[in-house]
């Protein structure tokens, strides 16, 4: 089987699995406890925090808030900032964010916050002047993703940061999809808050983090025992946190290598596919894209049919968005890029990753070409 759905989730790296093992075994303590077994868990937790802070260039370990995943970190950043201080303040974001942002934004909108969703052009690019014009004195947070989870189109975060810098707003970026291949640090993004999700870079599912300086006021979205400086209550999932940070360490250490290797696999894939099926249209081809993403459509072949046939041929790929039942949904990202429903329904996403084999791209292109030939 050729796994080309790394943007959905990745295989747990062996380093993460090894790091997690003791905390699924004898070091099971609750880090908030007083006794020895708790202290050992607490020590591992805080070591992981220090390590994570260092890996993203945070000034202090307590700027890392562990959460139950990327969605939760996004909720904390957007809802937390919009409702901070008991006020209802405005949010600016883009039309193509992940649902974790868009639904959080829609939620605070129902509470009376003003919300602006900045459009993109047909190549998925953001109009920075437009973004700047939407930021007002009451804007609490500007949330712009580092790279799109469907198309892989990269947003120019440094430019976004410069736009936000002279305003009172905070700049949050969802870097969930980009972290594996792009250098994502406090310095490179210029962001006040950064969301990461463990399972996108070889860590376990159900854990993530939000980088947020201690002086940034956030209304918590999960209430309880006051863990994580009160920003995210709930007993720490120590094993998952330790596993995430172990995967993070490997990911950062191997990032350059992985970037170049995956770029080569992806490019060979697209070259071979376009040679075999010349009318394939690659989404965002004129924009900077994540090296691991290939988002494209085969005119006249629906994503649903293509993905089912590829599943039969041992290729695991995805459409950009699926609902809870597993049916393919019309993508808000592609709609925002001006694609028709018919074109959007033909779009599929192939995403390569750390576990991809060197020939996966070429082999996948051959199988796509064979399936398409059979359908036409």
């Amino acid at each position: 089987m050729i796994y080309l759905d790394h943007a959905a989730t990745t295989m747990v790296r062996p380093e993460a699995r090894t790091a997690m093992a003791p905390f699924l075994d004898d070091v099971f303590g609750n880090p908030s406890g007083i006794h020895e077994i708790s202290r050992r868990a607490k020590n591992a937790l805080e070591s992981a925090r220090e390590q994570a802070a260092e890996l993203i260039g945070a000034a202090h370990p307590l700027e890392v808030v562990f959460t139950g995943g990327g969605t939760e970190a996004d909720n904390l950043a957007v809802v937390g900032a919009a409702l901070a201080g008991g006020e209802r303040r405005a949010v600016v974001t883009t039309a193509v964010e992940h649902e974790a942002i868009l639904e959080s934004v829609a939620f605070v909108e129902t509470l009376g916050c003003r919300v602006d969703r900045v459009p993109v052009d047909g190549d998925g690019r953001l109009d920075l002047a437009e973004l700047g014009s939407r930021i007002r004195t009451d804007t609490a947070v500007v949330s712009v993703m580092a790279a799109n989870n469907e198309t892989g189109v990269i947003f120019p975060l440094a430019d976004v940061a410069a736009t936000v810098r002279n305003t009172p707003a905070l700049f949050h970026t969802d870097a969930v999809q980009a972290f594996i291949s792009e250098e994502i640090t406090v310095a490179t993004t210029g962001a006040d808050m950064i969301t990461l999700a463990s399972h996108k870079f070889g860590g376990p599912k159900g854990v993530g983090l939000l980088y947020v300086p201690r002086d940034v006021e956030l209304e918590p979205v999960i209430h309880g025992g006051g863990q994580e400086l009160g920003r995210r209550s709930g007993t720490h999932n120590v094993a998952a946190i330790v596993g995430m940070v172990a995967a993070m360490e490997v990911s950062v250490a191997e990032r350059k290598l992985m970037h170049d290797r995956v770029a080569a696999i992806r490019d060979r894939f697209e070259t071979a596919l376009l040679a075999a099926v010349p009318d394939v249209v690659v989404t965002g081809a004129r924009s900077p894209r994540l090296v691991q993403h290939s988002h494209f459509r085969v005119p006249g072949v629906t994503a649903e049919t293509l993905l089912i046939r590829l599943d039969q041929e041992g290729v695991a790929a995805a459409a950009g968005s699926a609902c809870s039942s597993g049916a393919i949904e019309v993508s808000h990202v592609l709609a925002a890029m001006g694609m028709s429903d018919g074109e959007a329904a033909e779009c599929v996403r192939f995403s390569f990753g750390w576990s991809s084999g060197t020939d996966d791209g070429v082999e996948a292109a051959e199988r796509v070409a064979a399936v398409v030939a059979g359908l036409r």
Binding site: E304, R309, C323, S325, A327
Partner: protein
């Protein structure tokens, strides 16, 4: 050989999938997402729900076969639900399950079977397909109380060549026993009763909301022309209906006529309900040809028994049915299905009664 099994999440299609495996097919399970709420999610109540898709998915997992949810919301809305409303607005009584079979399941899905890498399409209907030198025959299911051949009358030779109906060979009891024997989670699941796109609510409320034209009020009159009052919408009435007429009369009265141009609903006696025959349109025959010299019975409702009749070609795909004995409650919009014994010869949609 690979079989695409349309799995609704019920026991019949669950067992159909298992039987195809027994027959040596590779099986691909699929649930048709036909209807959704405003949020794009599958409905929570009714038959085409998230929990039904989940049952189908779990059964597929237990059988260790791939499973997909296929999006047919646009087709279903246009070809089945909108048609359903239009029929009520025209004073008729539609059968949306038949329209779904005709225009979604055994048309767009069947045509797509090969594109999905499969050779045959399988459903859990209680009906049988026979093949001999004359071609394919559609026959009532073994379980007479569950027979669904009526809703499959539109199938032709090309369709039947590519369709398998393994459940038609079994009684419902045997289907449930088979499912229980395999430990399938759907073994004791009740049969669905509701229309899949309406769910727990009333179809009349659904139509009122979505097709106000079908719910416009009009006069309620007797067959003598006496006005009894104003009714609250044609959607509340079906030919032959006795209950819920909104008026109290000394003797039993039935809906004997619905005139969509004036939204007039006419009540009459049981005798006035009886008609000699009906005009049937969009007629097709399973064999591709009208029957010659065969005794024909006609079934005019899902729950009716076929009755003896003569059928005559009127041209334009329209046929006239003359019952051997007058029949009550012949409702335009329902299917008239022609049988010879247990075999479905063909059928169409009742356009109007012939008095």
């Amino acid at each position: 050989m690979r079989a695409l099994v349309a799995m609704s999440g019920g026991v019949d299609s669950s067992v159909a999938a298992a039987l195809m495996l027994d027959q040596g097919y590779e099986v691909v399970g699929a649930t048709l997402k036909q209807w959704e709420g405003a949020d794009g999610a599958m409905p929570l109540a009714g038959c085409c729900t998230v929990s039904d898709a989940e049952d189908a998915r779990r059964v597929a997992a237990q059988l260790d076969v791939p499973y997909y949810v296929l999006d047919y919301v646009d087709e279903f809305t246009e070809k089945v639900v909108d048609h359903f409303g239009e029929m009520y607005a025209a004073g008729k009584t539609p059968n949306p399950c038949i329209e779904c079979n005709r225009r979604v399941r055994f048309s767009v899905l069947l045509e797509r079977t090969r594109a999905l890498g499969c050779d045959v399409l399988v459903t859990g209907h209680h009906a049988r397909i026979r093949h001999d030198a004359a071609g394919y025959h559609l026959v009532k299911g073994v379980d007479g109380t569950k027979d669904q051949s009526y809703v499959l009358h539109m199938l032709g030779q090309g369709d039947l060549a590519q369709v398998r109906l393994p459940i038609g060979e079994m009684t419902k009891t045997a289907v449930r026993e088979y499912a229980a024997g395999m430990g399938l989670r759907t073994a004791a699941k009740p049969d669905s009763q509701d229309l899949c796109f309406i769910g727990a609510g009333s179809y009349r409320d659904f139509i009122r909301e979505r097709f106000p034209d079908a719910a416009r009020p009009g006069p309620l009159v007797t067959s003598d022309g006496e006005t009894l009052g104003i009714h609250e919408g044609m959607v509340d009435f079906t030919i032959g209906q006795r209950k819920g007429l909104g008026v109290a009369l000394g003797e039993p009265r039935y809906v004997v006529g619905i005139d969509p141009t004036t939204a007039t609903v006419t009540l009459g006696t049981k005798d006035e309900l009886l008609v000699a025959g009906c005009q049937v349109e969009d007629v097709s025959f399973v064999s591709g040809r009208p029957p010659v010299d065969r005794d024909v019975t006609v079934k005019i409702r899902y729950r009716a028994q076929p009755v003896a009749a003569k059928i005559a070609d009127e041209g334009d795909g329209s046929w006239r049915v003359l019952f051997a004995d007058p029949q009550a409650a012949v409702a335009p919009g329902q299917a008239a299905v022609f049988y010879h014994g247990d075999e479905v010869l063909g059928g169409g949609t009742i356009a109007r009664a012939v008095r």
